[in-house]
């Protein structure tokens, strides 16, 4: 895949190595970028089973994910977080990986529910034992399915993780 690097940000990154005392600038930009990211995490929904229903419920009036600036995007290109909610079968795994590959950096993965985390009770021939076999999972949310509150708690955990990140603001891939 062809990725362009014409954004001014990468110039700063390269140039900044020679400018002394730029650490503060980087840290500042880091803070701003991370703030933007945690404040508008747009998930790519990958609802496969029961947990998807609870994820939808979390977006509904009673829980309202929009409060956190979260809008569900159907296209993985415009999404930041991939929420895997539900059982991952082996037949599904290639599709899931492809969707993940379509996402733009920085991207995060939340495994929601026991099925996505480990495969749950379905230790069977057709089920992948957890999506972390082929995806870098950032946050695990246990539960079968987790309550919407637990799901939001997982999102807040992810926000904490993003807050402490450094130098993830370029198109370096």
């Amino acid at each position: 895949m062809n990725r362009q690097s014409e954004d001014c940000v990468i110039e700063i990154e390269e140039g900044i190595k020679v400018i002394p005392g730029a650490g503060a600038v980087i840290a500042g930009i880091d803070k701003i970028a991370n703030w933007g990211r945690i404040s508008s995490m747009w998930p790519a929904v990958f609802g496969t089973a029961c947990c998807a229903i609870e994820m939808m419920t979390a977006g509904s009036s009673h829980y309202d994910l929009d409060r956190f600036g979260i809008i569900f995007r159907a296209s993985p290109r415009q999404a930041d977080v991939m929420i895997i909610s539900g059982t991952v079968t082996k037949k599904m795994a290639p599709v899931m990986r492809r969707v993940y590959d379509q996402m733009a950096e920085p991207r995060y993965v939340i495994a929601m529910g026991s099925c996505a985390c480990t495969g749950n009770v379905y230790n069977t021939y057709s089920t992948a034992q957890g999506c972390d076999n082929f995806l870098p999972v950032d946050v695990y949310i246990p539960g079968c399915p987790p309550r919407p509150e637990a799901f939001i708690d997982g999102l807040i955990k992810l926000q904490e993780k993003i807050k402490n990140e450094h130098l993830r603001w370029s198109r370096w891939r």
Binding site: A33, F68, S75, A104
Partner: protein, 344 residues
Amino acid sequence: MIESVISSVGINGFAGSMIALLVKIAIVFGVVMLHVAYATYFERKVIGHIQLRLGPMTVGPHGILQPIADGIKSFFKEDIIPAGADKTVFKIAPVIPVFSALGCLAVVPFFDGFVLANINIGLLYIFAMSSLSAYGIVMAGWSSNSKYSFLGGLRSTAQVISYEVALGLSLVGVMIMSESLNLTQIVEAQQKYWHGMFIIPQFLGAFVFMIAAFAETNRAPFDLPEAESELVAGFFVEYSGMRFALFYMAEYIGMLVMSAISVLCFVGGWTLPPFVLEAFPSLAAVPGIVWFMLKIYFHVFVYYWIRSTLPRFRYDHLMCLGWKVLIPLALLNIVITALVKYFC
């Protein structure tokens, strides 16, 4: 106002007028960008409350910083050009709708005397510009090398071509009544009537215009090109990061422009109806821009209101509505207006 300030500093002639123009452009651009940012916020809040939720709450007090966070995130997001895409076209595409929407603003008078270019063919110019935004959509849909965006582009093209006609015809009545294509003169012409707004004699035209404007800006219930449940995200399905944000921006500027035209042509722009002014003379002290903004925001609110209420049209019903209902209605409106004008 701005001119006098500049001439008082000592810059006169061509340079002075150029600087004044630049300052005006900067003001309009800034205000519009702010509007775009907060239109998204406003939309989320309005739709949220209609759906008995709250909308953005956590980013800043009552989520007031939400649009800024969205912008920053998009800015720092990786920009993907899909393999197999037509790179140049793919890159140019998002710029065109923004360009065309901003271009429209050049002739929009915000209040008496504040207009970037007071040209005689203002309305025609706006048609010309707004018809261009279709290219961005077509190019995006075509160059992304994705079937969903391709379908979205195709739908959008057909939709824009058909509704352009209705949009143009619906305003002909206004042109006949005001005998001008200049937007400032159209506003002034409305002041000659007791009602002070053309929406009353031109209710048919206004109705057709509203519907055509919804279709022209691809807003619900005519959001077929980006119908989420059918085409995932329509023509910009492959766009990410800043380029995607540009499409978003263009949509909201487009809404602003359409509301502005509607306000100018049908609701009397920055003026108040004479009978209202007679009843409350003190209202004349309020600057016109306030009324203009209030009217525009009411229109924008209607956009959101309708979006949250109505289901989506189907492609062929949309075409039927455009060709079989709106265009005949607009033509009827023209005939009636012309007859009334001729005989009265």
